[in-house]
């Protein structure tokens, strides 16, 4: 087991290196000058040039990359070109907001998805099953930003039940978490359904039911426990997807998260922010994938010996 984990960690290093390279190159190869954006229309050409010099943008690219890598290893991600504030604290702060939203969405997804999946499995073949399957596919297919806009229109702007945008108290989480979580809920419901169905067909379950245990108890103690692993792994993968989907949700709901920050930073070519942000997200996802792989390995010994 330890050998497996160590080996997986070893493959991390080149990937991390590649990710940092991509993060750096991607934003630097995009045409556009952050000094122009910061100085704005009206600034003298000489001042823009001076600003560019001051921001260290004239150094050759490999040098800038090496410099950035060196500083990153000391957990110093530099300063935003526009606000001159340290990048890492702001990234972590905004990432925290995105994580909060992702967790809330995950809770929604689990609550809705598990329920729907179990109901569909238990009532297999009926109208319920078909309807839930349809909803599941719809849930996966619906564009998040559209759903978010509609929710905002109906529940916030027209009915006034919850605030429309921004992040404040718990009521501001409702709409974004719903919009973001519905997608994942759909997927979880399908995995749950097939998992539960598979286990319901197993002998020990039939025996338990025959022995007179209530259906609900059987469900809880045996079925759900056994289906936990595939559901959890899908959930973990979905978390990664949630982080990506947050970009669109944050834009619609004006959520002060990392996704929105990245979109804005890319638009104004704030190199340190974009580089740091992409790195942070990628590292998180890599670690998440690693954790999922380890979880798989724990559950299925065959995988360890690949």
């Amino acid at each position: 087991m330890t050998r497996f984990v160590v080996r997986r960690f070893a493959t991390l290093v080149p990937v991390l290196f590649g990710v940092s390279l991509v993060a750096f190159l991607l934003i630097h190869l995009i045409p556009g000058d952050p000094a122009e954006v910061i100085a704005g229309p009206g600034a003298a050409g000489a001042d823009i040039a001076q600003l560019r010099q001051q921001l260290g943008l004239n150094a050759p690219l490999p040098l800038q990359y090496a410099d950035w890598l060196a500083r990153t290893s000391h957990a110093d991600l530099g300063r935003s070109l526009l606000t001159r504030q340290a990048v890492l604290p702001e990234l972590l702060d905004r990432f925290g907001n995105t994580l909060r939203l992702a967790v809330a969405a995950m809770l929604v997804a689990l609550a809705l998805g598990l329920t729907a999946g179990v109901v569909a499995a238990v009532r297999r073949g009926t109208v319920w099953d078909l309807a839930l399957s349809l909803f599941a596919i719809a849930g996966v297919s619906v564009p998040i930003f559209w759903l978010g806009l509609l929710f905002m229109l109906w529940f916030a702007l027209n009915l006034g039940w919850v605030p429309a945008t921004g992040m404040a108290g718990p009521e501001t989480y409702v709409l974004p978490a719903l919009a973001l979580g519905l997608n994942a809920a759909a997927l979880i419901s399908r995995i749950t359904r097939s998992s539960v169905l598979e286990i319901l067909g197993r002998d020990y379950v039939r025996t338990a039911l025959a022995k007179g245990l209530s259906a609900r108890r059987v469900l809880w103690r045996h079925v759900l426990r056994s289906s936990a692993v595939p559901i959890v792994t899908v959930a973990a993968l979905q978390f990664g997807y949630l982080l990506g989907g947050a970009v669109l949700t944050e834009t619609v709901f004006v959520w002060p998260g990392l996704g929105r920050l990245l979109v804005e930073a890319i638009q104004r070519r704030d190199f340190p922010v974009v580089q740091g942000g992409i790195l942070l997200i990628a590292v998180t996802l890599i670690l998440l994938n690693l954790a999922t792989d380890i979880l798989y390995a724990v559950a299925d010994p065959r995988i360890r010996y690949q």
């Binding site: 000058d33 122009e36 009206g42 001076q50 702007l157 429309a164």
Partner: protein, 525 residues
């Protein structure tokens, strides 16, 4: 009692009653304003975020609005574009027009307690003028040769040549007085720890969401009326409007035109519509054919239906352009050229050798100005009627500026959408920055590569003229020449729609579209 005396008493009684009735009725008519709620919080929802509170870094009008509540300069501008005393109570300019002497207000303290004096003002001005700091606002003060604190309450500025709009430049953002100890302590981080002399001091900021200011009790101008002043960034138009309706925000900016009409019906709300100073136009690179031919440029101007654009796109929240600045900018004179006339456009094009029109590209940003992309597409549709086949290309802002400012031999610009605003409230700024031939890229912003020697001459003259009465005729001629030369496809001037709750008073909408909240107050219920 005799009969006459009884009558007199009755008449006196009637007269007295009448007087009393009128007196009580007259109270609401000539009433004192409703009492001020000194515990009120005013929340202002703007459309974009404020990335930095450093007054020397240009960051858009919302940033200027916030900074105006924290910082003050020597002078300030009011909503009519007039310069008023702020930290300077009076000033004079020498006979040769190069030396400005400011007498500073006494008893002023910064928000951290530091006393304000000429040395502090000098420190701030030196900072923004310092080439090593590379601050974007340096360009506004580059004409100042020296800034001297003659004594604690007198500041003297010497410019290299007489400079007409000196006061207007000082009234804008970059001339703010920053507390010297704060500058020393925070250095670059002054952007997130602003300390000025204004009525509201910085309390906290949630990046990307809101900035909270609180009352500064030591303000020289008397007790500020609001306990808290909060600026939030709400980019979704529909949400901003909803916040106003639910009193989550008491003032909102950039109300969409159709919403403005709807909100006006609501008695709890007041919609203020002001002329803006932003002039939307499509600039043309005149260094290459066919746009190098004046007839072609004029033809394009005839082919555009400005009224239709204002009516259809802006829903009336704008005015068709008649010059290269807006009517609200000092110096504006309407030129009355280029009515909508497609036949004339085709005729001019034929004369210039393009009877079947020609192909061109219009660049446009997206989301930078209200309905910018839509404007470009609308113009594309209109030009097609005159036979000009334009292709619209959306380019993101960071690249936009870089592309426009490539030097002439590398520049591929044909037509581009832009909207200049006269941040100094007077016409000299745009004239000098955009139409002077010395400002061809990469030095400056004459991105049309326009050259008219007479215009250059006039602009230089206008800069050196300090007396507004002698300045005006100079710029009248500049406008005539520029509109006739048509380096721009003139479009329209935006109007600003601001939504407020009806119990909010005292704010001033400045000519450069920022809002001065220093004297804002909310009526007590």
């Amino acid at each position: 009692m005799t009969a006459s005396r009884a009558w007199g008493g009755r008449i006196a009684g009637v007269v007295w009653t009448v007087v009393c009735v009128f007196a009580t009725a007259a109270v609401p008519i000539g009433a004192a304003p409703p009492p001020v709620d000194y515990n009120a919080t005013l929340t202002v929802a703007q459309g974009v975020d404020v990335p930095t509170l450093d007054p020397a870094v240009s960051a858009g009008t919302p940033a200027v609005t916030v900074r105006h509540s924290i910082y003050e300069g020597l002078v300030s501008m009011n909503d009519r574009g007039e310069v008023e005393p702020a930290l300077a109570t009076s000033w004079s300019v020498s006979a040769d027009g190069r030396t400005w002497t400011f007498h500073l207000r006494g008893g002023v303290r910064f928000q951290d307690g530091t006393p304000f004096d000429a040395a502090a003002m000098k420190r701030s001005l030196d900072r923004v003028r310092d080439p090593k700091e590379a601050l974007p606002m340096r360009n506004y003060f580059v004409m100042i040769q020296t800034a001297d604190a003659v004594d604690a309450s007198t500041l003297r500025l010497v410019t290299d040549a007489p400079f007409g709009p000196m006061l207007q430049h000082l009234a804008y953002d970059g001339g703010a007085a920053i507390s010297p100890p704060a500058l020393a302590k925070y250095g670059k981080d002054i952007a997130s720890h602003p300390v000025g002399t204004g009525p509201y001091r910085f309390d906290s900021q949630v990046p990307g969401q809101s900035i909270t200011l609180v009352r500064f009790d030591g303000y020289w101008g008397g007790r500020p009326a609001l306990a808290k002043l909060v600026f939030t960034a709400v980019s979704e138009d529909a949400t901003r409007v909803a916040q106003l309706e639910s009193n989550q925000a008491q003032v909102i900016l950039n109300v969409p035109p159709r919403e403005a009409l709807r909100l006006k019906q609501n008695p709890a709300l007041t919609i203020v519509i002001k002329d803006g100073n932003r002039v939307a136009h499509i600039g043309m690179n005149v260094s290459k054919p066919p746009l190098s031919d004046k007839r072609v440029r004029q033809a394009l101007n005839y082919a555009v239906n400005r009224r239709g654009l204002v009516g259809g796109l802006l829903d009336g929240l704008g005015t068709p352009s008649e010059s290269f600045v807006a009517p609200i900018t000092w110096g504006y004179v309407s030129q009355h050229l280029y009515p909508y006339d497609v036949k004339k456009a085709k005729q001019l094009l034929a004369e210039a050798g393009f009877p079947n029109g020609f192909d061109t590209t219009i660049w446009t940003p997206q989301g930078r100005y209200p309905l910018d992309k839509e404007t470009a597409v609308a113009v594309q549709g209109q030009l097609a009627q005159a036979g000009v086949r334009a292709r619209v290309q959306v380019i993101d802002w960071a690249q936009y500026l870089t592309l426009l400012r490539r030097p002439a031999d590398q520049n591929t610009t044909q037509m581009y959408l832009l909207a200049w605003e006269s941040v100094t409230g007077e016409i000299g700024y745009v004239s000098r920055t955009v139409f002077a031939s010395s400002q061809w890229p990469p030095t400056g912003w004459n991105t049309m590569f326009y050259r008219n020697p007479r215009v250059d001459e006039l602009i230089a003259q206008g800069d050196r003229t300090v007396d507004p009465r002698t300045r005006q005729p100079i710029y009248t001629e500049v406008q005539q020449l520029v509109v006739d030369d048509a380096p721009w496809l003139f479009l329209f001037n935006y109007k600003q729609a601001i939504g407020t709750r009806s119990d909010v008073h005292g704010f001033a909408v400045l000519p450069y579209e920022a809002i001065d909240f220093r004297k804002a107050w909310i009526a007590a219920k």
